[in-house]
């Protein structure tokens, strides 16, 4: 209904790794975009390593967490890797409440994720 400022998802290719820089709120309005970007990268392109840079995510809700879980499942099916980087306190909190924090590979910095 509103045009609005969408969630921004931009992709960087670093060798065989794709880094997604996410800016904004991953809520019901925007989690479908995240899901679509992730599944296209993992299921269709079978990119060996996908890193989600979450450092500019202001808010993430249960539908956002669901999108990340779908990404993780797809990467397990494809035998690829899926990592989260730069979780804000809010994002970390939500993953902890979901008891999902430990099932994701998380890193403080992009460098660590790329090396990991």
């Amino acid at each position: 209904m509103l045009g609005g400022k969408p969630l921004q998802i931009s992709a960087r290719l670093l060798g065989t790794t794709t880094v997604f820089d996410i800016t904004g709120d991953i809520d019901l309005a925007h989690s479908p975009e995240v899901r679509k970007a992730l599944l296209s990268e993992i299921k269709d392109k079978k990119t060996p390593k996908v890193v989600m840079n979450m450092s500019k995510v202001r808010y993430i809700d249960s539908s956002g967490v669901a999108s990340l879980v779908e990404g993780l499942k797809a990467s397990r099916d494809a035998g690829t890797r899926f990592m989260l980087v730069g979780l804000s306190p809010a994002a970390r909190e939500v993953l902890q409440l979901s008891r999902l924090l430990k099932i994701f590979e998380t890193f403080d910095t992009e460098e660590a994720a790329l090396a990991g």
């Binding site: 209904m1 809520d27 019901l28 939500v94 979901s98």
Partner: protein, 151 residues
């Protein structure tokens, strides 16, 4: 205006309005006296409750009406605590089947089924009611200091 009504918001069931309500809730809960983690927690509960109304009560229609009222509730109402922050969410969708009001088991790793968990983890009171053709979800969170004082 009732002395205890802090804010009433009416919005269409459009997901792009969620961030607007979060903007108001963050400031209101901060002004009410909640700590930063509590502010995030109450805001999250309201956001997840709105998300459920949009998805389940209104099946994704973006032009239906939702009302959110925030009030101060006083000690008298509840023995368990002190000053509380109450949020009432009203929608005009079909009666909720209470049997369906359950999230997935947290042990399962699958997408979805987290919203109600987040709401229950955040709030001290979570009550679904049907009243005059509307679904009313009542959420209360007590201020921590008062809560200790009251116990």
């Amino acid at each position: 205006m009732g002395p205890d009504l802090l804010l009433k918001v009416e919005l269409p069931s459009d997901p792009s309005m969620l961030c607007v309500v979060r903007g108001a809730m963050e400031r209101l809960t901060e002004t009410f006296g909640f700590s930063a983690p509590e502010v995030r927690s109450v805001t999250r509960a309201v956001d997840e409750a709105l998300t459920n109304i949009m998805r389940h009560s209104y099946g994704g229609a973006v032009d239906r009406r939702i009302e959110v009222s925030c009030s101060r509730v006083s000690k008298k109402e509840r023995v368990q605590g002190g000053q509380g922050f109450e949020v009432r969410l009203v929608d005009y969708g079909p009666k909720i089947d209470k049997a369906k009001l359950r999230g997935r088991k947290l042990e399962e790793i699958k997408p979805g089924g987290l919203g109600l968990h987040f709401i229950r983890q955040s709030m001290d009171v979570v009550e679904f009611k049907r009243a005059r053709g509307t679904n009313v979800l009542r959420l209360v969170k007590y201020l921590q200091a008062e809560k200790l004082e009251g116990t």
